[in-house]
Symmetry: C2
Subunit: 197 residues, 2 copies
């Protein structure tokens, strides 16, 4: 696919993203990147004037990428709401299979007070966008009779989104790969539970 050799700037971005997802923003340094890429710290400053600039660039790319994915999934008329949800689960299940990696914004949320303002806003937008997307899908699925919702779509979306992000946090600690699988299965079960009242 992408056979274009990556520029140094891109390699820095990739590495920085990975480091943030595994260690956190405040816990990676130019030195880490310098070592991994075999160039000097000063050279990184040539591409990204400050750590804040680098962080913002990583976050913007991530937010744009997932924003596009969500739009694509929701726009495809072939998909059932359930299928869309399954697409949504995928990155979470992927992260859950790695020992330390979490969602970039989940990692950043844990250190909000240490982030430059632009990054805080980016994380905030990401969270709101995902909760809204989930709420829309749940509403759609309920309207089609695919799902049974025990609570209004917006609240259920918050429950599920929190659970997915929370599961990443927990699995990083306990190291149990079943954590995320169980959460996803529990979500499916909640939605399949038929007829209440």
């Amino acid at each position: 696919m992408k056979s274009t050799p990556e520029s140094t700037a891109d390699r820095i971005l990739d590495l920085a993203q990975n480091l943030i997802q595994t260690r956190g923003y405040s816990w990676f340094s130019y030195q880490d990147i310098s070592t991994a890429l075999g160039i000097r710290k000063a050279s990184i400053h040539y591409h990204f004037a400050s750590k804040a600039a680098l962080g913002i660039a990583v976050l913007d790319r991530y937010v744009a990428h997932f924003g596009g994915e969500l739009r694509k999934i929701a726009a495809d008329p072939k998909h059932t709401a359930r299928k869309m949800l399954e697409f949504y689960f995928e990155p979470y299940l992927h992260f859950a299979r790695t020992p330390d990696q979490v969602c970039l914004c989940g990692a950043l949320a844990g250190e909000m007070l240490a982030l430059p303002p632009e990054m805080r806003e980016g994380v905030d937008r990401f969270f709101r966008a995902h909760q809204k997307w989930l709420a829309d899908i749940l509403k759609r699925g309920a309207a089609r009779g695919e799902f049974t919702l025990a609570a209004p779509p917006a609240k259920t979306a918050r429950l599920f989104f929190g659970a997915l992000q929370g599961a990443l946090l927990v699995k990083r600690t306990t190291g149990d790969p079943a954590e995320m699988r169980d959460v996803v299965e529990a979500i499916r079960a909640q939605l399949d539970a038929k007829a209440r009242g």
Copy 2:
């Protein structure tokens, strides 16, 4: 109640805990405590030889405190399972009313790789204990006909625990105090949903 004047060591512990819950372990320094308490950095080292020792002391106290609370709640035969759950929600709702505070272990989980081994183990034990406690309560409530579970107790416990921890993470970012309230309401609704299949 507790009119005993706090020792310096206790005041350091209290302050350190609060700082970890609002900023994170790697983001508080002896200098912060020094300034707040009006003593020098070196004096803190007299009470806690290292930052790791201080962190471990804070965590042990926290884990012991909540461990005791959970045991007390679960042991009281007067309580319904639903009432026990409501007790469990309380600290989360409390944290959610503050702008930046989260569960101590939730904060620490976000920076596992930066923690001394003893702290990692403490967080791990905390998470496992809470998930097990929740699973027990859910099982008990289901057996008594108080709850309807769409998934097995252990998986449902992971869903709910993740959602509560995740909601703290999200509310710290979005600043929306309704985040936790919505999640708690959604959990209640899931459990109240009657008769499936």
